[in-house]
Subunit: 157 residues, 3 copies
């Protein structure tokens, strides 16, 4: 009987871990937009591993320090002090043990006097790794949803 | 004592199942936009049951094959090769045993030269069914958020 | 051996509760946009505690009744009968026992003849409390993402 209970506990722990992982990754990605619009450079950078990468149209970041520098850059500071929403949709996640992949779409909405404009729509593809009791991004590619095959290849997990 | 443990395990399994179901359905709906913008006709169609329905302004799909044909249609291919984001928000889900309902809102953002335009905003109402170890859509209605009573009736679960 | 199983059950129950709480709060926030665009005044108001607050640019609501009155107001009814999407992104949630905080961004998309316009982009910061077997909002602030320090301070949990 105890063996039976132990087997059920084992199964429950494994299932719960998977649910927690999916939830943790959707939450991590849900935090990106608010943090990057707030300009919290350290907290944004901390979403990546030390040598994590972020490739976004002509900007090749190859470390947490590079991500931090992007948030502090004049280009990014102009966006967020002018009024910006890096508006990411819900992430679609696939967990495989201690690794995971996720995809989401986004718009970038900017204040423009009294109006708001959609400056771009994009796809984001994340590779993540379990790092102790949390998840971190090891690789992220962002591409304009410009109809190119390259952009469309990033969309499917 | 063992009875006690068994009762707690029963309760845990039931609660975890409910959480997993909600999570699975939010994930299914989160995958729709990326898959349909990628043009993955088979994978989009596979979100529906064999005889699942999808009704979207003047387009009545009554099977998985119909959904697949929609993705492969000239109209849809023009959208996605021109640059499109079928940008769905987080789904609000209600699970009831082996059936579920879900609602979300969306925008459709299209590339238009150097600019991006919001071509429409819509509501999506899903009915889903447990199909083995996953969920599938049996019925989906999409309606423009045009202020009509019909659209607004679709918004509340 | 039974002690061992009990300890594992205790841990599982605590972990599952945390996952359920996060999920419940993301679901609550996912329901706001659909409900408020549907004009369901009672159901929107019911997301708040009896004396819950909602502060949104020049509108200070200090009770569930105030929230209900906002939904029924001429200003809100004009928005939703004209065609509106209060389009909230996925919530980023932090649960601490029986209290929680959450942040998300949003756009407000309005029908404008044949076109759709983004009337604003905003940040929403929620404080929530466990109320029996569900969660309710005790305090919410919404601010335009206008680049001000005040708006940006609301973005980080």
């Amino acid at each position: 009987m105890t063996d039976d209970l132990t087997a059920r506990l084992d199964a429950l722990e494994e299932r719960l871990q998977r649910a927690e992982d999916t939830l943790a990754i959707t939450q991590l990605i849900a935090s990106y937009g608010p943090l990057v619009d707030a300009g919290r450079a350290d907290e944004v950078a901390d979403l990546w591993t030390e040598d994590g990468e972020y490739h976004v149209e002509g900007w090749q970041m190859r470390s947490r320090a590079d991500v931090r520098a992007m948030v502090l850059s004049d280009a990014h500071q102009r966006l967020i002090t002018g009024g910006s929403a890096h508006f990411l949709g819900p992430a679609w996640v696939e967990v495989d043990g201690d690794q995971a992949r996720a995809v989401c779409e986004s718009t970038l909405v900017l204040a423009h006097g009294e109006r708001w404009v959609t400056a771009r729509a994009g796809v984001h593809r994340f590779t993540l790794v379990r790092d102790g009791d949390r998840w971190r991004i090891t690789h992220r590619v962002t591409h304009l949803l410009d109809g190119s095959q390259e952009a469309r290849d990033l969309l499917a997990l």
